[in-house]
């Protein structure tokens, strides 16, 4: 059985760059552990070993695009919604190595 604790929830929150207060994380951990146990029970169904995973309902071949330049050259449009930008670049807080 998978047990999710508060710290795991907080780590998962960091993966998607959101914060979660300790008490909420603890509550979520408890509920999620319960949910996982319910899901785990349902997934014990031996039938699932007889079929491949279904990733998508789509059944056609992947389309291949011709290698020609059809896009770009639209700096203004690309930057038009940016919260912080120069006429050429998007700006973010200094990224440190």
């Amino acid at each position: 059985m998978t047990k999710i604790d508060k710290d795991t929830i907080k780590e998962m929150a960091f993966w998607v760059r959101v914060r979660i207060p300790d008490d909420e994380a603890a509550k979520m951990a408890e509920e999620f552990t319960e949910t996982l146990s319910w899901i785990g029970e349902r997934l014990k169904n031996p039938e699932i070993q007889t079929v491949p995973p279904m990733v998508t309902p789509f059944d056609e071949q992947i389309p291949l695009r011709q290698d020609i330049v059809t896009d770009g050259h639209q700096v203004q449009a690309v930057l038009s919604n940016a919260p912080d930008a120069t006429p050429e670049f998007f700006c973010v807080p200094k990224m440190v190595e």
Binding site: M12, R17, V18, I20, F32, P63, P83, F90, K94
Partner: protein, 461 residues
């Protein structure tokens, strides 16, 4: 003169063709109705100027004999479709100032066919929900009872259709988000086969489930809109090359001799009109067949795992860098955190957090892949059913709309809320809800038969 907004889309087209009125007149009537009913909060963004300009252009085209299939029809667009130059928010604060520099393929097809844009309708934030209560722009009210929710996530579109604030509307489905509000607002809704409508320019929730569709006052209205929106799009690698028939010409009002399956798992709870509907289908000459869909019960679980897993990564791009609202921070990570905390509502944040688990190394092997296998079993249920019958028939949502208060306390988590809707989203089959709350599900790519049967279902008095 009658109120032009009382005409169905099909009737409006007829009136426009006969020059009984102009698109500008119809559009003006709808804009007036939108103003009157603004308190329903069906629209996030109204675009009266764009609408009147488009209506004028439409009238000119019609005068020049260049009328398209939806020439002059005023439509509402769910705020999940990117519209060039018109704010598109996904009902989220994080996109509350986003003006797309491009147009979604499906809305472009509508405009190319002559439709007129009235505005962008409300939805649950990023389409995650079935009450339209998680929107950053407030709750949408059910036009039939304003203390109740319109359903969701395409609740704004459903309410707008029901309140005659548009002639028809687009919606999107991931787990039932068209049929659910259609049922709650007593309008018609149709979700085509996955791959029929391009997803290009539609804000993604869960990519393997998302499918654009339509809501209208009748199935005929839906058929007219959807046949315009469908078709191959080279910008979407999961867009089908299959031909699109002219659905509205195929509604021949007969189901005589058709085999219609009634899945017993879909009749555990039924609405008041159910027995009458069964009798009606028999009277119309259909042959009813009892069907087993043994994995129906698992759909909710599979949906939970798959949709959250996919949503988590689809929503990673909203980081305050290239568009949308930013909350500053000293470091890049701090800026990301501040932006995403302030930008997303709690429901969306929670789904993202839990979604990470299902794609983590452990969650992927132990839950995500097994859930995808269960998805295959659900598909097998459909494959086997369609060996025996032409379509499946059931209630869409067997419960009545809950109140806004009930919704805020988790009423939408009830098991009869969407368990008749989810299996068809997971498997990609076409499905629709008639304006009397009854559902028809068809074979992959056989959208035509679903529409045809739904059209007959709507004849029931």
């Amino acid at each position: 003169m009658t109120d032009l907004t009382d005409l169905t889309l099909s009737e409006t087209l007829k009136g426009l063709a006969e020059k009984a009125f102009s698109s500008v007149e119809v559009t003006t009537a709808y804009l007036k109705k939108m103003e009157e009913k603004r308190h329903l909060n069906a629209y996030i963004t109204e675009t009266p100027e764009v609408a009147l300009k488009m209506a004028e252009e439409s009238d000119n085209r019609r005068a020049n004999g260049q009328a398209g299939k939806l020439e002059g029809i005023p439509m509402a667009i769910k705020d999940m479709f990117c519209t060039k130059g018109i704010r598109t928010t996904a009902a989220s604060r994080i996109l509350s100032n986003f003006i797309p520099p491009f147009e979604s393929t499906t809305t472009q097809k509508l405009w190319d066919a002559g439709a007129v844009c009235l505005g962008k309708t409300n939805t649950d934030e990023f389409a995650m929900g079935s009450s339209t209560i998680t929107s950053y722009f407030g709750v949408t009210k059910n036009p039939h009872d304003e203390t109740r929710v319109p359903g969701g996530s395409s609740g704004g579109s459903a309410a707008a259709v029901a309140a005659h604030m548009c002639a028809g509307a687009t919606g999107t489905e991931t787990g039932g988000s068209i049929r659910h509000p259609a049922s709650f607002c007593q309008v018609s809704g149709f979700k085509p086969t996955y791959g029929r409508c391009s997803r290009y320019g539609v804000i993604a929730y869960a990519s393997s489930l998302d499918e654009p569709g339509v809501l209208g006052r009748s199935i005929e209205d839906c058929a007219r809109m959807i046949e315009v929106m469908m078709g191959h799009d080279p910008k979407d690698s999961t867009s089908s090359h299959r031909d699109v028939p002219a659905f509205h010409t195929m509604l021949d009002k007969t189901i005589k001799g058709m085999k219609i399956g009634i899945p017993k798992e879909y009749t555990e709870l039924v609405p008041d009109n159910w027995e009458k509907a069964i009798q009606f289908l028999k009277d119309e000459g259909a042959q009813l067949v009892d069907i087993d869909m043994p994995h129906t019960e698992e759909a909710g679980m599979v949906y939970y795992v798959v949709s959250q897993g996919e949503a988590t990564t689809n929503l990673a791009r909203y980081d305050g860098v290239r568009y949308g609202v930013r909350e500053e921070g000293k470091t890049l990570d701090e800026m990301y955190m501040n932006t995403r905390m302030a930008g997303f509502g709690q429901e969306v944040r929670n789904r993202m957090i839990l979604g990470t688990f299902f794609t983590s190394a452990k969650g992927y092997n132990d839950y995500f892949v097994p859930a995808q296998k269960m998805r295959s079993l659900i598909k097998q249920d459909f494959d086997r059913a369609f060996e025996k019958v032409d379509v499946l028939f059931s209630p869409a949502v067997p419960i009545k709309p809950f109140t806004i208060e009930e919704a805020k306390h988790g009423a939408a988590k009830g098991r009869f809320n969407d368990n008749y809707l989810m299996p068809s989203c997971l498997t990609g089959v076409p499905a629709g809800c008639a304006n009397n709350g009854l559902q028809v599900i068809g074979r992959m790519w056989d959208d035509a038969t679903v529409l045809k049967v739904l059209d007959v279902v709507e004849m029931m008095k």
